[in-house]
């Protein structure tokens, strides 16, 4: 079956531009995570959705970052007024059930964002 997909795969933005990154989780997956991965680093947790509810947004680095999942499937991560420090790979992961620490997360390929 299809895995997690993300689009676009690459995005170049000028500083100050707004960007929107899309995540299509595996069909039927309840849980959805967003991570930010800087070059040479491990993924850093940004936010967690259970269906359409955003249960944890403690990892969002600033109020310029906003995530939504209005119908409990596709999710969008929006970054307003991009800065150079926002350059990173943004990873989306989904898991089948509502949150449980035992649940396996399935990652998408990521969106590589470069802010000039």
């Amino acid at each position: 079956g299809a895995g997690v997909s993300q689009s676009p795969r690459y995005k170049v933005a000028k500083r100050g531009q707004d960007v929107a990154l899309r995540c299509d989780p595996i069909s039927g997956h309840v849980s959805l995570f967003w991570y930010q991965q800087a070059l040479g680093q491990g993924p850093e947790f940004l936010t967690y959705f259970q269906n359409e509810a955003q249960l944890d947004k403690s990892g969002l680095p600033s109020d310029r970052f906003f995530a939504e999942r209005p119908e409990g499937s596709v999710s969008t991560l929006k970054i307003q007024r991009t800065q150079q420090e926002d350059s990173a790979v943004y990873l989306c992961a989904s898991s089948l059930a509502k949150w449980s620490w035992q649940e396996t997360q399935y990652f998408g390929p990521g969106t590589r964002l470069l802010v000039l």
Partner: protein, 110 residues
């Protein structure tokens, strides 16, 4: 502070040369420790979950073990296709958050 540290940062092995990767963690009340493999340009791919000290899991040439302070990923007789970055992560109790280490970049030479 909850933290995950992986070592070494990078490792070069000859094909067939076995070795181990280390993941040490500081988190109160560990629920689960996770190992992932990440190839360039791709998202992490799940390998193992370990729940309690003394637990071991195996998959092909990989074996993961867990103690109260650290986990090891043992690679037996590696092949070039095992070249990747190996990440470990822990779940932070009482939150929805997972903390990842910075990974070990493994290169297996033919």
């Amino acid at each position: 502070e909850d933290q995950v540290t992986q070592s070494p940062e990078a490792l070069r092995l000859q094909e067939g040369e076995s070795s181990s990767l280390n993941c040490s963690y500081t988190v109160s009340g560990l629920r689960g420790l996770f190992w992932y493999r990440q190839d360039p340009g791709k998202g992490p791919e799940f390998l193992f979950t370990l729940y309690s000290a003394g637990e071991e899991k195996e998959k092909e040439r990989l074996k993961a073990t867990l103690t109260k302070k650290e986990s090891f990923l043992h690679i037996t007789a590696p092949k070039p296709e095992d070249s990747a970055t190996y990440l470990c992560a822990v779940q932070v109790p009482g939150t929805y958050k997972y903390i990842f280490g910075t990974g070990t970049r493994l290169k297996v030479l033919a």
